[in-house]
Symmetry: C2
Subunit: 120 residues, 2 copies
């Protein structure tokens, strides 16, 4: 029984002042106003409104326009719309390969210089 209760021999001393680690809580608070990267499968002009809404909310959208490669007219219109959107929010828009357009919200820019390792 003595063993189960244990620690009885130790004199009680009040715990020292300990600073609370608030970082856990901060992460939770941040979580609520989180930024998202969202991928959009663009089949025509119908997805533009939702992309616009996402970017205005501060999210990054990667627009997959590969399905429009045979519809240059619609593609041109979408590229124009997304450039206008990036202008409106002072964000950015850049092609990623030939299939994707990255659209960023206010405060996020796209670096035109690729990260490349030193070739030996």
């Amino acid at each position: 029984m003595e063993k189960l209760i244990g620690g009885k021999s130790q004199k009680y001393s009040p715990p020292e002042y300990e600073e609370l680690d608030l970082s856990e809580y901060e992460t939770e608070i941040e979580g609520e106003a989180e930024t998202f990267v969202r991928v959009a499968e663009v089949t025509g002009l119908s997805e533009i409104a939702e992309i616009r809404r996402q970017v205005y909310e501060g999210n990054i959208v990667i627009a997959d326009v590969s399905l429009l490669r045979h519809d240059q007219l619609t593609l041109d219109r979408i590229v124009k719309d997304l450039k206008q959107l990036a202008d409106d929010v002072k964000g950015d828009v850049v092609w990623l390969g030939e299939e994707y357009l990255i659209v960023t919200p206010t405060g996020i820019k796209i670096d035109r210089n690729k990260i490349k390792g030193v070739r030996k």
Copy 2:
């Protein structure tokens, strides 16, 4: 000469109080702590250190691993490293097609649901 100097006939009146538009300056201040999207052309393990540095600095990295499609061993290792990196910073990592890996820093998550228009 009268013409060159001009406006002499207009009575001088002190300019009215005009509120300064500080938005321009605010943009500059924001610019200093800006988040970037950076594309990395991954040819092997040598680019991982720079990707890690970028993500630790709060930037989003889109790693183009298309050059590694015939080197499954290196690709597996890089995917493992990037997942570990995302874990370390509580960011996120998701495939974008078969060529790109999106790696995000603390506070930025990748939505697994694509934005899709309603098909008619």
